[in-house]
């Protein structure tokens, strides 16, 4: 307790504060919530550490300066009181000196907000408006990728399949908001055949804004699931925003993942649906999936292609068929498409299999949505293993639906054929357990209080014949 309190007075406290800001992406509300729920500042930074970016360094120095200022003011007050010129100066001064970490911790958002309002926002708005002209002038295909999940995978997939034969540029990493689109636009050389633009929705009207700026010629909607409900409030509102891209694109050039059941209410007649059965007249059969990858055949009229991918799980097939169809439409040969699909391999921490002590681990720790959980559990039930272990902490940012969604999550795990379920202890654990119980799960449930310890020691728990699926991982700020 005392140690926890004293943690605020360590020099490391400042780094911790900046780390917390950085991890909350400089979102003041998220940061303040985290700050006030933290008891021991020694224990904040466990998974990550402060990345010393320029702004982080500047901020850190500002904080040091502020702290020094507060303490000096405190001393000044006490001195003044001593010379009888400042009534109550002693109490005030001591309060300042003792309370400086709390003052700093809260005050830090002030320069951020001021900076944003006065400098960053206006400059960003200018850039975004400028980028609109670049996008409008671009004559090639502009494919927008929209949805609550699966965007990055879809982007990578298209890049891999199209990229070897066409000049394709895509928004990098998870840089998927208006200002990142703008920066992306400035870097284009202009001779690209295809642009792939990921839309990272976060609050109502986001997708609408992105569409206005980037003028997509096609849009792929990868799925709808509860995400960012802290801002959208309801799934309906999120769906409305995501599907608003359709107001800017020819409806016959909208592709919707119909495996995502929540999309159903939003699909209009002219949209194309894609799923593991096919798209655009292409049909799929002969699906075989294993830990090493997936193979399947696609057919349209007389054309038949046998495809194989390193991606595991049937849920990738819809996207692969869509990419196949688009690639052929955009002029690639059949051979090029087959070779392109064969190049697709799992991305880091997304259904990525690896061998450990003779056991297989599927790392899906970047998966943070209920749809991903569903397909993961389905995959687990289909793969062969002597012993199956399922690991998850649950999902974050599920808003008012947290309870319902985690009970659903429990029901998915109950059907996954897992012999052992490992839950990372946190605020949603009980909901998941309830979901498991209601759906008749009777095998072993382990509640692990120290996730990091669990991951570090995983190798001691497993051996040949084991299959471990790890879905999602909570960053430091969630508990």
């Amino acid at each position: 307790m005392i140690k926890a309190f004293l943690s605020m007075y360590r020099l490391k406290f400042f780094t911790t504060i900046v780390y917390m800001l950085q991890s909350s992406e400089y979102d003041e509300i998220k940061y303040l919530r985290w700050f006030w729920s933290t008891q021991d500042f020694n224990k904040v930074s466990r998974r990550g550490f402060l990345k010393k970016t320029r702004s982080a360094k500047v901020l850190l120095n500002v904080l040091y300066l502020l702290a020094a200022l507060i303490i000096i003011t405190g001393i000044f007050c006490i001195v003044k009181w001593h010379s009888n010129k400042f009534l109550g100066g002693d109490c005030f001064g001591i309060a300042l000196i003792i309370g400086y970490p709390i003052i700093i911790g809260n005050l830090v958002v002030l320069p951020l907000m001021i900076g944003r309002l006065l400098f960053i926002n206006p400059s960003n708005n200018q850039k975004i408006l400028k980028s609109e002209k670049i996008f409008a002038a671009f004559k090639g295909e502009k494919i927008a990728i929209v949805g609550s999940y699966g965007k990055t995978s879809m982007k990578e997939l298209l890049m891999t399949i199209l990229g070897d034969n066409l000049k394709v540029a895509a928004t990098p990493g998870n840089k998927n908001v208006a200002i990142s689109h703008a920066n992306f636009a400035f870097k284009l050389s202009g001779d690209e055949d295809i642009l792939i633009i990921e839309f990272g929705e976060g609050q109502p009207k986001d997708v609408e804004l992105f569409s206005r700026i980037t003028h997509p010629s096609r849009a792929i909607i990868t799925g709808l699931a509860p995400a960012h409900l802290d801002r959208y409030k309801t799934l309906q509102a999120a769906g409305d925003d995501i599907f608003s891209v359709a107001n800017f694109v020819d409806p016959s050039k909208i592709y919707v993942n119909s495996e995502s059941s929540e999309t159903e209410n939003f699909i209009r007649p002219k949209f194309n649906k894609y799923n593991k059965n096919g798209v655009n007249g292409w049909t799929v059969d002969n699906i075989k999936t294993s830990i090493k990858g997936t193979t399947f055949d696609v057919k349209k009229g007389k054309v038949k292609l046998s495809l194989s991918t390193g991606l595991i799980g049937e849920h990738h097939i819809g996207g692969l068929v869509l990419a196949t169809s688009l690639a052929l439409e955009l002029g690639l040969s059949e051979e090029q498409v087959v070779a392109g699909v064969a190049r697709t391999i799992p991305y880091e921490h997304r259904m990525q299999p690896y061998e450990l002590n003779g056991a297989w681990v599927i790392d899906d720790t970047y998966n943070g949505n209920i749809e991903g959980i569903r397909v993961g559990c389905e995959l687990l039930s289909k793969l062969d293993a002597k012993r199956k272990i399922y690991v998850t902490p649950g999902l974050v940012d599920q808003g008012n639906d947290t309870k319902v969604i985690h009970e659903k999550l429990g029901s998915y795990i109950a059907k996954s054929d897992a012999d052992t379920v490992v839950l990372m202890k946190n605020s949603v654990t009980e909901y998941i357990k309830h979901g498991l119980k209601v759906n008749g799960y009777k095998k072993k449930i382990i509640v692990e209080s120290d996730p990091l310890k669990f991951y570090m020691n995983l190798s001691h728990f497993i051996a040949s014949g084991d299959l471990i699926l790890m879905q999602n991982d909570w960053p430091d700020q969630y508990k």
Binding site: L356, N357, H460, F461, I462, A463, S464
Partner: protein, 387 residues
């Protein structure tokens, strides 16, 4: 039921002191603790023979920090009490006594794996993991182990041996004996050492003398044996008391050196540990060994036969040499406590680290209970005559 207090003893005065620290901490203490079933007490024997017990000794970082001497200097050595069970005694203003229910030896080589540590446990009447005093002692003397195997009709490469005393008395006679009895190339080995230390492969008779000197630098007994032709080297980890469970036959991948030396065994594997696959602290190997089914079975049977002949219990690893042309399997040596318990091999065989150590603890308890049921106190009148 109260949790068992398990003392994991590692380090000791041995050329394999450092390897033992890794075995003790990574392969035994960690999984024992993760099982949640036991109280694990680390007991470290320093290179100079002092015994320490402190929870900080579970942290590998303390050994590799470069300030280990200072770290150890701050700890106080403990004493052992063998009175009705094994107890660790930490002396201080008030002595702190820890009762030990079971000992898990993690020592390799001399002063530990050779039966000495097991003898302390026997004297104290405490259960312990792995081979007992007799089998450990037999296993640690390659000459005796070979003789035991031979008397059980198990093949072993042709050999001669000398004590340090006999060799030094008349090296010429000894060398002549080697020349007349053994074909080249030969391996010259210290009789009691593990981990390929002090072993030389010799291809010319005139080099035998220097090789024997090297072996005798480490040991008081030297073994000279014929090399096996068309060699495939295999090793088989086995656990069990009466009912035996073998892991996979494992085939170390030979380095440019002509045999499995200390570097390949520990150092290189350690450095390249990041590499996935079958590389462990034991270097690169193929698991299971690629052998024709019949030969594989023969080698496995030989391994099990050796385990029984030597009287091993708990765990041991049997090294064998196979002449793939004649399909003959030769027993080479037994390791009562394989480095890292050979957990990488057990993992491949479907047993995880926690299961492995838990099973070994169960086997130790089983043997201990059985032995106890045999113990009876004999009453005699022998002393009364001295009244």
């Amino acid at each position: 039921m109260n949790k068992l207090n398990i003392a994991v003893i590692f380090g000791s005065r041995s050329t394999e002191h450092d390897v033992s620290i890794i075995t003790g901490i990574n392969s035994i203490i960690k999984p024992l603790e993760l099982s949640g079933e036991y109280n694990v007490i680390p007991v470290f024997i320093s290179k100079d023979g002092n015994w320490y017990s402190d929870h900080q000794l579970k942290d590998l970082n303390n050994y590799s920090s470069g300030h280990f001497k200072e770290f150890l200097g701050k700890l106080k050595p403990i004493s052992l009490s063998l009175n009705s069970g094994l107890k660790l005694v930490k002396t201080g203003l008030k002595n702190k006594i820890i009762d030990i229910d079971l000992v898990f030896p993690a020592t390799h080589g001399t002063h530990g794996e050779d039966g000495e540590l097991m003898a302390i446990c026997e004297m104290a009447g405490v259960a312990y993991v792995g081979c007992d005093v007799r089998s450990s002692a037999v296993a640690m003397d390659k000459v005796i182990a070979k003789n035991v195997a031979m008397s059980n009709n198990i093949d072993t490469a042709k050999f001669v041996y000398f004590s340090k005393h006999d060799f030094n008395l008349n090296p010429k006679i000894a060398l002549k004996k080697i020349e007349s009895e053994l074909k080249l190339p030969v391996f010259v080995k210290p009789a009691h050492l593990g981990s390929s230390i002090g072993i030389t492969r010799v291809t010319k008779y005139e080099d035998v003398n220097n090789a024997i000197e090297v072996a005798l630098h480490y040991d008081d007994k030297v073994l000279i044996e014929e090399a096996v032709n068309n060699l495939v080297e295999v090793t088989l980890p086995i656990i069990g008391n009466e009912e035996l469970k073998p892991a996979f036959l494992e085939q170390p991948v030979l380095h440019s050196e002509d045999f499995f030396d200390f570097d390949t065994k520990y150092l290189q594997g350690g450095k390249k540990g990041k590499n996935k696959g079958s590389s462990g602290s034991q270097g690169y190997s193929t698991i299971p060994a690629k052998l024709p089914k019949a030969l594989y079975d023969k080698a496995e049977a030989t391994g099990l036969a050796v385990y029984r002949a030597i009287g091993c219990s708990g765990i041991a690893r049997v090294d064998m040499l196979i002449d793939t042309k004649t399909e003959k399997v030769y027993f080479n040596e037994v390791n009562p406590l394989p480095g890292g318990l050979y957990s990488h091999n057990w993992n491949k065989a479907g047993i995880n680290n926690i299961e492995l150590v838990s099973r070994l603890v169960d086997l130790a308890v089983e043997r201990f209970t059985e032995k106890k049921s045999l113990e009876t106190v004999f009453k005699t009148n022998y002393l009364s005559q001295f009244k």
